[in-house]
């Protein structure tokens, strides 16, 4: 039967033992893609879903119409956020390996996607992240201690011990709660944006999901409702090429780009170099201006690479070529921004080293403080009564009864 089968099966470019091969990634030279007016109609910008918006070239020069011309100071802040994200990630990974937290998910190689997007938005804009967007939390200024306390499920955990590590949120920073169910945040963000429009407010909602998650129904609902009501929403697909072990071809990336889904709904789709801080910033800014001027939603595909394992439970050497991220044609977002800043005289290797040292100290100090609020095994503990709170606004009789039973059971 197999021999006659005509079912098409997408193929990963390189499996273990094979040489990495990124020939399938369609690239455009930096500066080559035109920047349409922010009020352009979706149908007039369809090439943005095919080409790749890039600003930084390999030498670190910023080119073309998407160059956002940011101050050096702002770029330095971006570099700092990205570096802090990376150093935080590295430390938390080691911390998990040492058995001090139960689980962790890194964003290695994808720092620009979160940091540059976030910096292009306003504090009143609401963010609906996935689990690989810690750059958003860092760029919005959440203290590392808060993030670490969540990872520890300790007495200062903003989730009160109810969520897996990395499922942060912050009402104050306008960052929504992360769900374990993929993609659900996408149409929720659109609903939030619809409410902003209904209320006549100026805020927009932005959401992120992985290219694998774009297969879920929620992705479709988000695009559809955003299109119908022209909601002020920015919908980001982070195409890091992998969904655990599954290559992006299985999410439909073999036939067309993910950005190309947008035009089908009358929503502009922009394919951007996700490892190019300037390009991500510029494209997000463009989408934000569209949203704020009533031109509706934008779908952005960030072309990037998941350089690390899916999570601390995963071992990518089982399913993809070893160290393939070193061959990724779009490089590393931190290296690229650093090169650009050095080239323009606004940065140096020495300052870079100093910044790393400063941020490492920050990470260490934060961890020290975080563990003082409790760890998995030591220090203060969350009260198990908390298990029964927040199921409803007020605890109903049956939960009071169960809480009391739990107390009896614990003796």
């Amino acid at each position: 039967m197999n021999k006659r089968s005509r079912l098409h099966l997408p193929r990963a470019p390189a499996r273990p033992g094979e040489a990495p091969d990124f020939g399938y990634v369609a690239l455009s030279p930096a500066g080559a893609v035109a920047r349409p007016d922010v009020n352009a109609r979706a149908r007039d910008v369809e090439d943005l879903a095919v080409n790749l918006v890039r600003v930084l070239d390999d030498a670190g020069a910023a080119l073309g119409p998407w160059h956002p011309h940011l101050d050096a100071a702002e770029l330095q802040v971006g570099l700092r956020h990205m570096l802090l994200t990376r150093l935080y990630d590295e430390r938390m990974q080691r911390t998990q390996r040492a058995g001090k937290i139960s689980f962790y998910i890194r964003s290695l190689g994808e720092e620009a996607v979160s940091v540059a997007s976030c910096m292009a938005l306003r504090p009143g804009d609401m963010l609906f992240p996935s689990y690989r967007n810690q750059g958003l939390h860092i760029a919005r200024g959440m203290p590392l201690v808060d993030l670490m306390c969540q990872l520890l499920s300790n007495t200062r955990d903003m989730c009160k011990g109810r969520q897996l590590p990395v499922m942060y949120h912050s009402r104050a920073a306008n960052i929504f709660s992360i769900s374990g169910n993929l993609a659900t945040q996408f149409p929720q963000a659109v609903g939030w944006a619809m409410a902003a429009a209904i209320k006549g407010e100026d805020h927009l909602a932005a959401s992120w999901l992985g290219e694998g998650s774009s297969a879920e129904a929620d992705f479709h609902h988000a695009l559809l409702f955003a299109s119908v009501y022209q909601a002020p929403a920015i919908l980001n697909v982070v195409n890091n090429q992998w969904a655990i072990s599954t290559f992006q071809g299985y999410a439909g990336g073999e036939q067309r780009s993910f950005a190309a889904r947008g035009p089908g709904y009358g929503v502009p789709g922009v394919r951007v170099d996700g490892n190019d801080f300037l390009a991500v910033y510029a494209v997000t800014r463009w989408a934000a201006e569209r949203a704020r001027t009533g031109a509706g939603p934008t779908l952005i595909e960030h072309v990037t690479y998941r350089a690390a394992a899916h999570s601390t439970s995963d071992d990518p050497t089982r399913y993809r070529a070893k160290d393939d991220h070193l061959h990724w044609p779009l490089g590393d977002p931190i290296e690229r921004l650093k090169r650009h800043l050095i080239r323009s005289g606004d940065w140096s290797e020495a300052r870079h080293e100093a910044l790393i040292a400063e941020l490492e100290a920050l990470v260490s100090a934060s961890w020290k403080e975080a563990v003082s609020y409790g760890t998995m095994s030591e220090g203060p503990k969350l009260d198990p009564d908390l298990m029964f709170e927040d199921v409803f606004e007020k605890m109903p009789a049956h939960l009071i009864k169960q809480r009391d039973a739990m107390r009896r059971e614990r003796g």
């Binding site: 903003m158 769900s179 929720q188 609903g191 209320k199 929620d218 409702f225 109903p396």
Partner: protein
């Protein structure tokens, strides 16, 4: 006070809330310009504007998801799912998101969404216009689940639902929209104007959750029920001349355990009746609670009267529907001297 059928009472509840609270918005398929396929939202878009009463795409998952997002941004969406049979495409957003948002964010985010949906059979709607899925939602921690049986309660409960900061699944037994129905399809239809609970206050009032209504006091047997079966059960008991205490739950979660158990302790006998299928239906939970709380008071096994464990069949509607006969057999069984 005015005479209202259940459709009008529900409409009035939303009218009152749209008028009082600018954050209330309605959304759903065909609910805006058209006023809904059961006309429950009739006139409301005209009165409050297209931005308060939204027509939506036919995507129940998208409706629930965007309602959650709207609620997080300060609105109070009342989403209509055209038939309860069509709520399942929205199930993940209801069960994984709406129900658990407050919990997982430790109260920092919550979504006061009311999902209204017509349920139940008896209108020759076949397998996809007749279902009673309440049990499924009662199993999902974080949801309140409500089913009114008359216009007065319907309005008061719906206002409570809209004002409530918890998500509410609000099930409307569509067979009762136009009048009480005692399970006999051959009798001429009775309008709500002939029933005292068709008298409805025109203004704002609430009926609290978690408080069952003893619609008939009695000493011989307790009948625990809700929705359409309230009338079927009452008629069956009356026909048998049994002094039944009939309890209309009104809200399933939270459940008024006190009222149920007080009654069972008094009567020692109990019949539970619902339209939904039997296996893992909400009757099983009610039975379990009574067994746990009133075991020593029971003089006979509690009986469940339910729809059969099959999809709802178009042609066998009245063989399927738990009518007076099925209730009567259960009443007779439970009343057998021990």
């Amino acid at each position: 006070m005015a005479q209202m059928n259940m459709v009008q009472a529900l409409n009035s509840a939303m009218d009152v809330m749209l008028g009082r609270d600018p954050s209330v918005v309605l959304m759903g398929e065909d609910i805006g310009y058209f006023g809904g396929v059961f006309r429950v939202t009739e006139g409301l878009q005209r009165k409050y504007g297209e931005h308060r009463v939204l027509d939506t795409p036919i995507a129940e998952g998208g409706i629930v998801a965007t309602a959650i997002g709207m609620a997080v941004n300060g609105l109070r969406p009342v989403a209509e799912i055209q038939f309860a049979d069509y709520i399942y495409p929205g199930f993940d957003q209801i069960c994984s998101e709406l129900a658990r948002l407050r919990y997982r964010s430790a109260g920092d985010f919550y979504a006061p969404v009311t999902i209204r949906t017509p349920c139940g059979g008896g209108i020759r709607g076949g397998q996809t216009h007749s279902q009673s899925p309440e049990a499924i939602f009662t199993h999902v921690s974080g949801l309140k689940v409500v089913m009114p049986s008359n216009p007065r309660d319907a309005k008061g409960l719906l206002i409570t639902a809209i004002e409530c900061d918890d998500p509410v699944i609000f099930l409307e037994p569509k067979r009762l929209y136009n009048g009480p129905f005692d399970g006999d399809p051959h009798k001429p239809a009775v309008p709500w104007s002939t029933h005292p609970k068709g008298e409805v206050d025109e203004g704002h009032y609430t009926v609290p959750f978690g408080r069952a209504d003893v619609v008939r006091a009695g000493a011989a047997v307790t009948v625990v029920t809700y929705g359409t079966m309230v009338y079927v059960a009452a008629a069956a008991a009356a026909a048998l001349g049994i002094d039944a205490e009939i309890i209309d739950l009104r809200s399933l979660v939270p459940l008024d355990v006190d009222t149920i158990c007080r009654s069972v302790r008094k009567t020692g006998r109990c019949v539970i009746a619902h339209e939904a299928t039997r296996l893992s239906g909400f009757g099983a939970e009610i039975l379990s609670v009574i067994q746990e709380e009133c075991f020593w008071d029971l003089e006979a096994p509690i009986q469940r009267v339910t729809g059969w464990d099959t999809p709802y069949p178009h042609a066998f509607e009245w063989e399927y529907f738990p009518g007076q006969k099925r209730v009567a057999l259960a009443l007779e069984t439970v009343m057998e001297p021990t």
